[in-house]
């Protein structure tokens, strides 16, 4: 009996000792403490040349951008204090902040901007294309830079507030072995604590001494990578993680019932079928707009949204997001579910007996429920849909081999319209066959050359044209959920799923 009591006491003592450690991984995200963020984005490295949108917080901790993008999408000074376009919008003059230094004491100046932007374009990273219109960069003096463009690019300020605007110490560029990949060297608000970080798992940042700007509210930031949302949800519920973004509808539903967890909804990505082969090179039927319209009419978006995403989102037939200038509210319902009309359109186009579509399938994007739902909807109008499973590692081949006529994807809806136009409408990855027509040839140059905020009518005309010609088969805009453990206030970033690092603050 005595032994039993001793055993129980020992177990209790152990449990107490361990309980004291539970939740010790992250301090509450109050002012002055450490902010612990979860992410499902694994950055390729911490070299700005490898940066991309969803990994931006990793970089914002240690690098500043030339221009700061505010949560509402407006621009404010950061390393550049002023910027001005020439009349024809092919020349952008930047005035730089004076007195900013890198850690080794070398100055941030016009030469550094030139070196960074030229390197970013040459390194051929994921976002190098954003500077493809840059013809030359000239350091006029220490604090003035002129960027000459081959053609107007309405998204240039956006790019300079994004990956292309991240400024690293040029002295790191010539060191052997590309040290920036693991040892970032910028002017940002934090420094990477290499000793406490485990690249690929956890990145620990501590406040940079002598930061030139106003301090962010946290002494330190920890960004942890997870490959599943279950661990993230458990971490937020127990306060080990302060904030995260949840995309999965089931996980969203599971965490919303926790009274301590604070949530903010945001619609960003749309899910849909991107029709690459509008010229009919692979599937001749897709050349006819009536066939593409029929595909749109065949999709039962409301049922799909309800069953697959538990109604978390908005059914739509357009690729422009609700906050973009090109958005037209009535286009969300341009293609109601109407299989009879779809069959009629196929008949008019000469495909009354249907045709076969073979599409690549990435399991993470097209789960079984979505795969079978699409097969059922398209089968109802005589279109036989077959899936070709593709490994995540081989996805890029889809865009280079051009062997598939379309693909179901989750794509962002940036508020800066030209980014969406550039990504989805201009010839490129998502317009891999380079489709165009007279309407596009007339509208695009006008949109491209228009001063900021003046192209709304043309953008909406473009949107109407794309929907009418059924360039895409969008299903719905997906609602994502920013969650926090209650100690942190997260402000969504306009036009991005992942909030900027500057958008976290202690909850009041």
């Amino acid at each position: 009996m005595k032994k039993t009591i001793s055993g129980v006491a020992l177990a209790a003592a152990c449990a107490t000792a361990l309980t004291g450690c539970a939740g010790g991984g992250a301090k509450a995200g109050g002012a002055g403490s450490t902010l612990s963020i979860a992410t499902m984005t694994l950055p390729q490295s911490l070299d700005p040349a490898d940066a991309n949108g969803s990994a931006l917080p990793f970089f914002q901790a240690v690098y500043d951008t030339l221009i700061k993008r505010e949560p509402d999408g407006s621009y404010s000074p950061m390393l550049a204090t002023e910027w001005k376009y020439s009349g024809d919008r092919t020349e952008l003059k930047l005035t730089l902040r004076d007195g900013v230094k890198f850690d080794d004491g070398s100055p941030f100046d016009a030469a550094a901007v030139k070196a960074n932007m030229e390197r970013f374009g040459k390194k051929a990273g994921a976002q190098a294309k954003t500077l493809k219109d840059v013809k030359s960069i000239t350091a006029d003096d220490a604090t003035h830079v002129t960027v000459k463009l081959a053609q107007p690019n309405p998204a240039m300020l956006y790019y300079l507030s994004d990956a292309a605007g991240l400024m690293a110490n040029p002295k790191s560029f010539t060191k052997p072995g590309d040290p920036l990949k693991t040892k970032p060297d910028g002017t940002g608000p934090y420094e990477l604590d290499s000793a406490k970080s485990a690249i690929g798992t956890k990145w620990v940042y501590t406040r940079a001494k002598n930061y030139w700007g106003s301090k962010l509210p946290y002494e330190g930031v920890t960004i942890s990578y997870f490959d599943n949302e279950t661990a993230i949800v458990n971490g937020v519920k127990t306060g080990q993680l302060n904030a995260a973004l949840l995309q999965n509808a089931d996980q969203q539903a599971g965490i919303e019932s926790d009274p301590k967890v604070k949530t903010v909804k945001q619609e960003f990505d749309f899910q849909g079928m991107i029709l690459f082969d509008r010229g009919g090179a692979l599937v001749p039927a897709l050349k006819d707009a009536r066939v593409r319209q029929a595909l749109n009419l065949a999709i039962d978006r409301a049922t799909m949204l309800s069953k697959i995403r538990q109604g978390r989102g908005t059914a739509t037939s357009q690729i422009f997001g609700a906050k973009s200038a090109g958005y037209v509210p009535e286009l969300d319902t341009a293609y109601p579910h109407d299989p009879a009309k779809a069959r009629d359109l196929l008949k008019q186009a000469g495909f009354a007996s249907g045709f076969t579509l073979k599409l690549p399938r990435i399991q993470a994007i097209v789960p079984d429920a979505l795969a079978s739902s699409l097969q059922t909807d398209l089968n109802a109008i005589g279109v036989k849909l077959t899936w070709d499973d593709v490994d995540a590692g081989a996805v890029r081949r889809i865009f280079t081999d051009r062997a598939y006529p379309a693909m179901v994807m989750n794509l962002g809806q940036p508020d800066a319209d030209w980014i969406g136009v550039g990504d989805y409408v201009l010839p490129g990855v998502f317009n891999m066959f380079g489709t165009s027509d007279d309407t596009l040839k007339s509208l695009l140059p006008k949109i491209q050359a228009a001063p900021d905020g003046t192209a709304k009518a043309d953008l909406q005309a473009l949107n109407r044209h794309l929907v009418e010609q059924a360039w895409f088969v969008p299903f719905y805009r997906m609602s994502y959920l920013h969650v926090s453990d209650g100690t942190v206030r997260v402000t969504p970033q306009s036009g991005m799923a992942v909030p900027a690092l500057y958008n976290y603050a202690p909850a009041k």
């Binding site: 539970a22 690929g200 997870f226 490959d227 279950t230 590692g393 890029r396 280079t400």
Partner: protein, 313 residues
Amino acid sequence: MLSFVARRVAAGVVLLFVISLLSYLLLSIPDLDVGRQLLGSNAPQATVDAKNAELGLDRPVFVQYADWLAHAVRGDFGTSWFTGENVVQALSTRLPVTVSLMLGVTGVTAVLSLLLGVWAGVRRGVADRVVQVLGVLGYALPGFLVTLIIVVVFAVKLRWFPAIGYTDIAESVPGWLSTITLPVASLSVAGVAGVSQQVRGAVIDVLRRDYVRTLRARGLPPSRVLFRHVLRNAAAPALTVLGMQFVGLLGGAVLVEQIFGLPGIGSMTVTYTTRGDIPVIMALVSVTVVGVIAVNLLVDVLIGWLDPKARTA
């Protein structure tokens, strides 16, 4: 004994070479186009080709392997193609996590299985049936379900332990214990269920032997018969199963590391294999094979120590 160990080590080296070669060949079969993955869809083909050449991927696969082997034998596993991280350094931060997990599970499995198996084998009757039912339950419950129940009850609801993360033992021993307890418990359920049945069966089998009856008839205390003679003879099959469990734990570690957000080599294997990061994957394969060889050798040595006849087998 020394020649026995030497023979096993030599066989292990050959095994390591064969598996590393096969792994390299298998990794080269799928056309993952690493250069394209690194540089993105928009990169010109010439740039992609240059990148692939820079990584040595334009050479015949046997040349690539020979190059890798020449560096690996010197302890140089290179750098990750994707993160630029030194592979040895990357593994050194993750290996302790998985090793902690596997040693913890093996320790817990060994102790609990021994207690339950001996209790059931010696007592029989109700105790035996209880252990058998628990064994079937532990084996039948899916691992992911057990893990999710454990994390929801003990971490999310009761808050006794952290739900995610890992604290290094060098940083804090109580912290390490708190972060490793639930993952170890999750992985131990099936192990205890399997090994305890093995111990039970072996104990019952040995207890029926003539020499045990003789020992009892000579008036030896039951505890001495059990610990000195029965367990020693029943240990060999249990150790073999325990060794196999240890090796099989790597598969279970992937799931548990994902659910608990542990930065171990299980989750690392999944992430880097889908990318085709050959330097990292090959280092992971090497470490895993060495671990498996070492555990098997240890089990063989232990069995040989317990039963001298086994050394000549």
